[in-house]
């Protein structure tokens, strides 16, 4: 399940739904990215997607990860639009027979989302707004997985 959400979503409800009927699974790893900011601040983040294309591209990587890590299932929910401090930006869920594959796939998918998924993130701060680009650390992280992950970086 790959979904873009234009309103706050409920990571706990998604986790429980994902864990339902998993008596054959063993291991579910998850990651929640949370919008940082001062409480009471105006929504510090804006996420843009290319509807249709974004889900399709994320879906391709989810299928690649499924093969690479022998996943039984994967789900990704990504917020779009303005996001308030403390709200979930992204949820990645992976199910596998063994915890190592579940962890690694979750890690892999987050590295991809940070650097190569068709999403654009604007941060609003006291000094104004700026478009976020992958950090050196993000690029080093995604580099750990070799060239298999989607297209070469531009």
């Amino acid at each position: 399940m790959i979904a873009l959400a234009d309103r706050p979503f409920d990571p706990g409800a998604e986790l429980n739904r994902f864990c339902q009927g998993r008596a054959a699974t063993g291991a579910v790893a998850s990651f929640v990215g949370i919008a940082r900011g001062e409480a009471g601040q105006d929504a510090p983040l804006e996420l843009q997607a290319y509807p249709g294309f974004t889900e399709a591209e994320i879906g391709k990587i989810a299928r690649e990860a499924t093969g690479r890590f022998a996943l039984q299932d994967v789900a990704i929910v990504h917020r779009v639009g303005r996001i308030a401090a403390g709200e979930a930006i992204v949820l990645v869920l992976t199910a596998a027979a063994h915890r190592r594959e579940a962890f690694e796939a979750c890690d892999y998918l987050m590295d991809y989302l940070k650097t190569r998924a068709p999403l654009w993130k604007k941060e609003y701060g006291p000094a104004g707004a700026r478009w976020v680009e992958p950090t050196a650390r993000d690029l080093a992280d995604v580099g750990r997985w070799g060239a298999a992950q989607g297209d070469d970086p531009p």
Partner: protein
């Protein structure tokens, strides 16, 4: 007709997010030239490192022909999560 979509900082620089060009230019390069005709700032932004183009939702490198009804997206460096 060609539909052009801009994302991220390109949208901010251009001041628009979606435009129709009628008739569709024959190639991606011709479309780009049309878009940036009198916009030096947008021309620079479109040529910035990391900007990718998709035609009909397929990533394209270099130039390509455009059919009528093409949807062309220009996408700066991506960053979700």
């Amino acid at each position: 007709m060609a539909k052009v979509l801009l994302f991220g900082r390109l949208r901010d620089v251009a001041g628009w997010r979606e435009r129709l060009y009628e008739p569709a230019p024959p190639t991606l390069a011709a479309l780009k030239a049309l878009i940036v005709a009198d916009r030096l700032d947008l021309a620079a932004a479109l040529e910035a490192p990391g900007v990718q183009a998709a035609v009909n939702r397929v990533l394209v490198r270099g130039d390509c022909a455009l059919g009528d009804g093409a949807e062309v997206a220009f996408m700066p460096a991506m960053s979700g999560g």
